[in-house]
């Protein structure tokens, strides 16, 4: 396994460090038109008029496009079909798109945007999800403003609580988190003379974009081709919303018959694009005197915003993860996604699980404290292991590395070996969290749980491959190139991934749910079968040995029994072409079945799970409440690290994004639903100065159905950091913060109230 487990240098890395123009903003086409989006000035209201008469004198102004201009259906299809491309009569959130203006330059488009007169009759809106839920007068969705209710019912919670020695019950809240990818959203739509439409842009899910553009333009799917450009970060923020951006560019492109470019401004991006759902969680859990987690009862409410978008599936994942990675036989969970007059929330690394895990892991520490038990020992007694059944009734037949991740962070962090340190006003604390993540789409999206791939070997032994999933920075391109090179016995440098393009492979579902390496890796291994067989057949002829004795590795084929007998793959491939042997292959991979009972929440929601533990060491200033994070140890069971350096980088990046969620990140809305801090100077993400020592630790319990044992894990580095920080603060100064972010002010107030 020469290339598997090797930290090869990033494919496409040279273009990145030399600043080559591979991003959507870099595209220039002859006759390009620029557009800008007209947005709702209120959270809820009726559109009376959109007047562009004062733009007609602006030289280079090309027109206004609204819901009325749409040739197809005014809908962005996601799970339900409630979100329009442009609000037609009613606006439902501040910043909702109601049209676009097109012009010969970006500056002219913005001049026109400022001159457009939008008249909206403001209506009372629902801003607070707890008030929106079942509101008697204002109906945003259905009869009760609930997009989805999910539940889990297992065992008998009431009698189980009676057996508990310790019961902890509290309310936890978490705010909006903004993805803050550094590249803003952007799209180029290029109508071709044959009536088809090409879309280029920054995105995670080209097949979602294709479906939306086809729907809005009334084109068959075959007439829309979507090509992903280099994508400057996604984190879920480029899952569903690029469909909106693409339609905003495609509509004027289609009607003007000219290429259109739309690049979002940063504040526009932050106001109108998806976020992590704010949440309200009421959590009660209990443990028996011997340290066994006996019962969990929880209510989990997420603020979905104005349209359902991905909320139903975010809620599904949140519900499945609402018991943490523990055995518990008595569970009663109710979770709700509520409609409000605010920007629709959607996918963000962890997908509904980081919020509930903040509660779960805070509770675990508080139960341990109540039992006077070491928090690591309490978790040890309850953590799932191979052969166990989860709290939603799934038997885990393989590869549960949860306990090993726990032991690794305990060992590496100096957990509890410290003598209570206090330098001046500072107190040191350690906080632990253990989390898990259901890999892939699971039962919430099983109709999409498949993926395609194509591999083409050229006569000179160079190779191209195509997949339907995307690289947004996480490293998929490199890891998949390693898999293809390994399967074909070629050097890594021979293999090139083609830009992800809907015309190259069948609809492969979205690039979400930490699924790209596992799904596309498996599809590529299948796609390599045919060319690999040709190579092995020809090698056996040239080496005059049995085919099963041929080994291919990094460009050489040799005899398994006699390493001296060799032939280059280059020569083999040349021969294969001469003999007209097949050197192209298609792969199609479906995941094994998943299931979920909507009434009981019992089933096998995901095919496999990734596991992780974190320990945060920090210092709290008792005078100011300020937190200084000193070290974070983070261990992850990834099945198999195909590229260990990239696994480490995913851990480090996720941990820091989680640290932002824990300490500083909070997008705020005013009482009228307007977002108040859509810029980097007021929405505070971690900078280089905020980064503590991070120790990434890789644990490998191979996933039998994954490529070389690998399974996805890219989301979970973020997921357990906030509760570990809360637990460390409690350890340091004895105050428990239950609403994120954990600011100095909140700690200071809690210390004063003690």
């Amino acid at each position: 396994m020469g290339l598997i487990g090797k930290s090869v240098i990033k494919a496409g890395g040279v273009e990145r460090v030399t600043g080559k123009g591979t991003f959507v903003a870099d595209i220039k086409l002859p006759g390009m038109v620029y557009c800008a989006v007209i947005r709702s000035p209120v959270a809820r209201g009726d559109i009376i008029a959109i007047d562009d008469s004062s733009c007609n004198r602006v030289k280079g102004y090309l027109g206004l496009f609204t819901a009325k201009s749409i040739p197809g259906n005014n809908v962005i299809p996601i799970v339900f079909r409630d979100q329009p491309c442009f609000a037609a009569k009613r606006v439902n959130y501040h910043g909702e798109p109601i049209g676009v203006v097109a012009a010969e330059s970006k500056a002219i488009a913005h001049t026109a945007l400022n001159r457009i007169k939008v008249t909206v009759k403001e209506l009372e809106g629902l801003i607070d999800p707890l008030k929106a839920w079942g509101h008697r007068k204002i109906k945003l969705y259905g009869d009760d403003n609930i997009f989805r209710h999910s539940k889990i019912r297992r065992g008998d919670v009431e009698s189980a609580f009676r057996e508990c020695e310790v019961i902890i019950e509290d309310t936890y809240t978490t705010p909006y988190q903004e993805h803050a990818y550094i590249e803003p959203q952007g799209m180029v739509a290029n109508p071709l003379p044959d009536g088809t439409m090409e879309i280029y842009g920054s995105m995670q899910c080209p097949f979602y974009v294709r479906e939306a553009v086809a729907e809005v333009l009334a084109l068959p799917l075959s007439d829309v081709r979507v090509i992903q450009t280099s994508t400057g970060g996604g984190f879920g923020g480029k899952e569903d919303v690029p469909s909106l951006v693409a339609c905003q560019a495609a509509l004027p492109a289609c009607l003007l018959k000219r290429p259109v470019k739309l690049i979002y401004e940063r504040d526009e991006d932050m106001i109108s694009m998806s976020k992590r759902h704010p949440s309200w969680i009421h959590y009660k859990s209990g443990a028996t005197a011997d340290g066994i987690l006996r019962a969990i009862q929880a209510e989990y409410i997420i603020d979905g915003g104005a349209y359902s978008t991905l909320s139903p599936v975010v809620l599904f994942r949140g519900t499945v993860h609402s018991m943490g990675p523990y055995r518990c036989e008595n569970v009663h969970i109710d979770s709700y996604a509520v409609a409000t007059n605010k920007v629709p929330c959607g996918a963000f690394r962890g997908f509904g699980s980081p919020q509930i895990l903040f509660a779960v892991e805070s509770q675990m520490d508080r139960l341990a404290q109540g039992l006077k038990m070491d928090p690591a020992e309490f978790r040890r007694r309850n953590l799932l292991k191979t052969g166990d059944t989860t709290s939603f009734g799934q038997k885990l037949s393989w590869s549960v590395g949860a306990k090993e991740t726990l032991e690794k962070v305990v060992e590496h962090s100096g957990w509890r070996n410290h003598i209570p340190e206090s330098a001046g006003d500072k107190r040191i604390g350690y906080g632990l969290s253990t989390v898990f993540y259901g890999v892939g789409l699971g039962a919430g999206g099983k109709h999409l749980a498949r993926t395609g791939a194509r591999v083409m070997v050229e006569p000179d032994a160079s190779v191209t491959f195509s997949v339907g999933t995307t690289d947004m920075g996480q490293g998929m391109q490199t890891v998949l190139a390693q898999v293809v090179a390994q399967e074909l016995g070629l050097p890594f440098e021979n293999v090139r991934m083609m830009p992800t393009d809907t015309s190259r492979v069948p609809d492969s579902g979205p690039t979400v749910a930490s699924r790209a390496t596992t799904m596309s890796g498996n599809a590529l291994i299948i796609a390599c079968e045919k060319p690999r067989d040709s190579i092995l057949t020809e090698a056996s002829i040239l080496l005059k040995i049995e085919k099963h004795n041929v080994v291919i590795d990094e460009g050489i084929a040799f005899d398994r029994k006699d390493g001296r007998l060799k032939v280059t793959i280059k020569e083999i491939i040349k021969n294969c072409f001469g003999k007209r042997m097949p050197l192209t292959g298609d792969g199609w991979y479906n995941t094994p079945e998943t299931s979920w009972d909507n009434e009981t929440g019992i089933g096998e929601p995901y095919v496999t799970y990734a596991w992780a533990s974190n320990i945060v060491k920090l210092a709290v200033d008792t005078q100011t409440g300020e937190v200084e994070v000193l070290k974070i140890s983070s261990a992850h069971d990834v099945g198999k690290a195909i590229n260990p350096a990239m696994v480490e980088c995913q851990i480090e990046g996720g941990v820091i994004q989680g640290l932002g969620f824990a300490l500083t990140e909070e997008m705020m809305a005013d009482s009228k639903g307007k977002l108040l801090n859509p810029e980097f100077s007021t929405y505070i993400i971690p900078t280089a100065s905020d980064v503590p020592e991070i120790e990434p630790i890789i644990v490998e319990h191979p996933y039998p159905d994954g490529p070389y044992g690998a399974r996805g894990f890219g989301e979970q580095p973020l997921m357990g950091i906030a509760p570990a920080v809360a637990n460390a603060v409690a350890d340091a100064v004895g105050v428990r913060i239950t609403d994120l972010p954990i600011t100095a002010e909140k700690i200071w107030r809690a210390l004063r109230a003690k």
Binding site: I9, T18, E183, C649, F680
Partner: protein, 163 residues
């Protein structure tokens, strides 16, 4: 100098080359680079000087090109990411970023690399604190910065060993 819409003739050095140009008074430096010179490695992430993705070196110092008027180039020397490598030969800082796995999506990488370059030119053997301070104006949302620190230390070692 004419009014904001007027143009002015200026001379400056861009990646070592002497340039004579007619610059509209209100034009931002980032637009001059991206639109007129097709130097797309200078990225626009916020347009407000908050993210550092548009960092270029002006007389060796990192500046946000979205906050500088193109006309301010007069008589000065500027380096963009495209001017760092020598043909196909990468600058040691660029090479270190690749070898240390300090690049994920790569959108912020040119800005980070230029900020690091400027630091190493001034302090060939920077402390951890100096490194953090030097790149604290360059936001990166992917890497968590640890591997960026490692890359800058590697580049610093390469730089010292080559002397």
């Amino acid at each position: 100098m004419e009014g904001i819409a007027g143009k002015m003739k200026i001379k400056f050095r861009l990646n070592g080359r002497l340039i004579n140009a007619d610059i509209p008074g209100g034009m931002r430096l980032i637009d001059l680079l991206r639109e007129d010179f097709n130097l797309t490695g200078t990225r626009e992430g916020c347009g407000k000087g908050e993210c550092g993705a548009c960092t270029v070196l002006l007389d060796g110092k990192p500046v946000n090109s979205c906050l500088v008027l193109a006309a301010q180039l007069k008589g000065r020397a500027m380096v963009t990411i495209e001017g760092l490598s020598d043909g196909d030969t990468l600058d040691p800082v660029q090479r270190a970023f690749l070898e240390a796995t300090a690049v994920q999506c790569g959108f912020c990488s040119p800005g980070l690399i230029l900020a690091a370059k400027s630091l190493l030119d001034k302090y060939p053997d920077p402390s951890e604190e100096q490194i953090k301070r030097a790149i604290s104006g360059n936001l990166c949302r992917c890497t968590g910065y640890s591997k960026v620190f490692k890359a800058i230390k590697m580049a610093s070692e390469t730089h010292r060993n080559s002397k």
